[in-house]
C-alpha cells in the first residue's frame, strides 16, 4: 500500500521551512530528486567503514570495497532489467549519451547517413548527435511533434524508409511536456529499417518500471540523481550484442589488460569502458536508491505519479490564465505538468511561487527547439516524485492566486 506520508518521513529535507515560515513544497523533482536517509546512510557507511580503492587491493578494505562496488553495479543493472555487463557507469545521462556518440557513433556514422532526433528532445539527446553529424558532414534532422505533444511516427517512418538512418535518438518521457513515447513501437520500426536507437531515460527511470530487454532499444541512458540517488552517477545501458561495435572513449587505468611501450590491450567487458577510480560511494548510493524504489515497487510508483499528474491537470486547467502544455490525457504523460501563464512571464511566476515556499522550474527546460516551434517564450513546470502529494499541488494552486494579485492577471 503506497503511503506517501510514511514515505515523506524518509526524506529529511522535506521538513525545511523557507522565508521563515513557509513549508517547503518541492515540485522540481524532474530537475533533481530529493534523497532518502537510507541512501545517505549507505554512502556514509561506505566512507566510514569500507573505503578503499577497488580492483587493485589485496587487503581487507580493498576486498570489501570491490565487493560492494560489484554488488552495487549488479543491483543497478538488475533494477533496469539489464545484465551486469550491459551497464557502463558514467556521471549522468548527458555523459552517457556523449559516451555512446563517441564509442559507437564515431565509427558507425559516415557519408550519406542520416541521424535523427526529435523536436521534443532534451538537449542532451539532441546536441551530441547534431554535432557529430556536423563533424561527419551527414544529415541531422528531428522527428516532428504535434501540438498535443505527440511524436509523429509517420514522419519517423518516412525518414527511416530512405534506409539511410543510422541512429534514432528519442526521449522516453519528455521533461518539458511529459509525453511518454512508445519506445517498443519506435524500436520495432527503427530496427526494421536497420537503424539503432538510443533512449534518454532520465525522466522514465524514476517514474515507471523500466525493462531494458523488453524495451528493445540499443542503448538507454539515465541519471542517478533523478531517481533518489546522489549526483555524479548515472548509467549507459548498451545491449550485449552491440559491445563489439564499441570503441573505448576513455583510456587509462582499469580498462587495460596489458600495457607496454609498444602497445596496450584492453580489458574484458564492461571494464573496457570505465577508466580510473570509479565513484564507488555514489555507486553504492545509487544501488541503495534502487533498493528503496524496489521496496515501494515501481508499478506503485507509477500509479502514484499518475494520480498526481491527473490531479495537477485537473486543478491547473481550472485556473483562468493557465494553459497546460503537452498531452491533456494523463495516460499519455508522466512525471510533470508544465504550463504557460497568460500575461505573466514564467520567471515571475516561479519567483512568486518561491515566495510561498513552492519550488518549480521556469524557462525552456533544455528543450529550446520544442519551445521555439510552439512559440512558448518560457514555461513553468511542476514535477513530482514518490514524496509528492496532492496537498502540495493544492498549495501550488493557491500560490498561483498570488500571481494574479501581483500582476492583476
Amino acid at each position: 500500500m503506497f503511503d506517501v506520508q510514511n514515505i515523506r518521513k524518509d526524506f529529511p529535507i522535506l521538513v525545511r521551512k523557507l522565508h521563515g515560515s513557509k513549508q517547503l513544497v518541492y515540485l522540481d523533482s524532474a530537475a533533481t530528486s530529493q534523497k532518502p536517509q537510507m541512501m545517505l546512510d549507505a554512502m556514509d557507511e561506505y566512507y566510514t567503514q569500507h573505503n578503499a580503492n577497488v580492483h587493485r587491493g589485496i587487503h581487507t578494505l580493498g576486498n570489501e570495497s570491490t565487493s560492494l562496488f560489484y554488488k552495487s553495479r549488479r543491483k543497478i543493472a538488475r533494477f533496469f532489467g539489464a545484465d551486469e555487463h550491459e551497464l557502463i557507469l558514467v556521471r549522468n545521462t548527458t555523459e552517457g549519451i556523449n559516451a555512446f556518440a563517441y564509442m559507437w557513433g564515431e565509427r558507425h556514422i559516415s557519408d550519406g547517413d542520416i541521424v535523427v532526433s526529435t523536436e521534443m528532445e532534451h538537449h542532451t539527446n539532441f546536441v551530441p548527435w547534431q554535432q557529430l553529424a556536423k563533424q561527419k558532414h551527414v544529415t541531422f534532422t528531428a522527428v516532428r511533434v504535434n501540438e498535443h505533444g505527440k511524436l509523429d511516427l509517420n514522419h519517423l517512418e518516412e525518414l527511416l524508409k530512405t534506409k539511410k538512418v543510422k541512429l534514432v535518438a528519442v526521449v522516453h518521457v519528455s521533461n518539458a511536456i511529459g509525453t511518454i513515447n512508445p519506445i517498443e513501437q519506435i524500436v520495432e520500426v527503427a530496427h526494421k529499417y536497420g537503424a539503432k536507437i538510443i533512449v534518454d531515460g532520465a525522466q522514465s527511470a524514476s517514474h515507471m518500471p523500466v525493462d531494458f530487454h523488453a524495451l528493445g532499444c540499443d542503448a538507454y541512458a539515465f541519471s542517478g540523481h533523478k531517481m533518489l540517488g546522489p549526483m555524479g552517477i548515472g548509467g549507459l545501458l548498451v545491449r550485449a550484442e552491440l559491445f563489439n561495435e564499441l570503441q573505448p572513449y576513455i583510456f587509462g587505468g582499469g580498462m587495460i589488460d596489458t600495457v607496454s611501450v609498444e602497445e596496450t590491450t584492453f580489458a574484458e567487458l564492461p571494464d573496457r569502458f570505465i577508466a580510473g577510480t570509479p565513484d564507488v560511494a555514489s555507486t553504492v548510493g545509487l544501488a541503495a536508491a534502487c533498493e528503496y524504489l524496489n521496496s515501494i515497487g515501481m508499478k506503485e510508483v507509477f500509479y502514484h505519479d499518475q494520480k498526481l499528474v491527473a490531479y495537477a491537470l485537473e486543478k491547473l486547467s481550472a485556473i483562468k490564465n493557465v494553459k497546460i502544455v503537452g498531452p491533456l490525457d494523463v495516460r499519455k504523460r508522466c512525471g510533470s505538468v508544465a504550463f504557460l501563464y497568460n500575461g505573466v512571464h514564467a520567471h515571475d511566476v516561479a519567483q512568486i511561487l518561491d515566495s510561498e515556499g513552492v519550488a518549480v522550474r521556469s524557462g525552456h527546460h533544455c528543450t529550446m527547439p520544442l519551445h521555439a516551434k510552439f512559440e512558448w517564450v518560457a514555461t513553468t513546470r511542476a514535477s513530482f516524485n514518490v514524496y509528492s502529494t496532492k496537498q502540495e499541488i493544492d498549495v501550488l494552486v493557491q500560490a498561483l492566486q498570488k500571481v494574479k494579485e501581483v500582476f492583476g492577471k
Binding site: V344, A346, D348, S362, G363, A378
Partner: protein, 128 residues
C-alpha cells in the same frame, strides 16, 4: 529579499507600461540580445545624431524584471551622449528600480538590456 521588494510598484508599473517600447522608423543602430537560460530576447534600436542618443526604442518578450529594467534604462540613456551612456551601470539601474540588490538567479534578467546596450556602444565604433 522578500517578494514585495522585488515586485514593488515602480517595477510593476514599468513592466505594465514600458517606456520607449516599440520600433524606430530610421534607427542608426540596432542590436539583439538574449538571455540563454530562459529565452528572453531584447532588440534595442538607437537614433544617434551629433554624438547624442536622440531616440531610443526597444522590443522584447521578457519577464517583469527585464521589461522594467529595459524601460528604466531607456529613460536613463535618452538624450545622453555616447560617452555618458557608456557609463550607465547596474548600480544606476538598481537605484532607479528602488532595489538594493538582486538575487544572482535574476541578475541576467536585470542586465539583459544593459548588456545589449553596452555591446552596441562598445562594439559599433560609435563616435563620442
Amino acid at each position: 529579499m522578500i517578494m514585495s521588494d522585488l515586485y514593488q510598484e515602480i517595477i510593476l508599473e514599468h513592466a505594465r507600461h514600458p517606456h520607449h517600447f516599440g520600433e524606430l522608423k530610421n534607427p542608426t543602430h540596432t542590436l539583439k540580445g538574449a538571455n540563454a537560460s530562459c529565452g528572453d530576447i531584447v532588440e534595442l534600436q538607437l537614433f544617434v545624431e551629433k554624438g547624442k542618443i536622440q531616440e531610443i526604442a526597444w522590443k522584447g518578450n521578457g519577464c517583469a524584471i527585464s521589461t522594467a529594467s529595459s524601460s528604466i534604462l531607456s529613460d536613463l540613456i535618452k538624450g545622453k551622449t555616447i560617452e555618458q551612456a557608456k557609463k550607465v551601470n547596474i548600480a544606476d539601474l538598481l537605484k532607479e528600480m528602488g532595489l538594493k540588490t538582486i538575487m544572482p538567479i535574476r541578475e541576467k534578467c536585470l542586465t539583459l538590456a544593459l548588456q545589449t546596450l553596452q555591446n552596441l556602444l562598445y562594439n559599433s565604433n560609435l563616435q563620442a
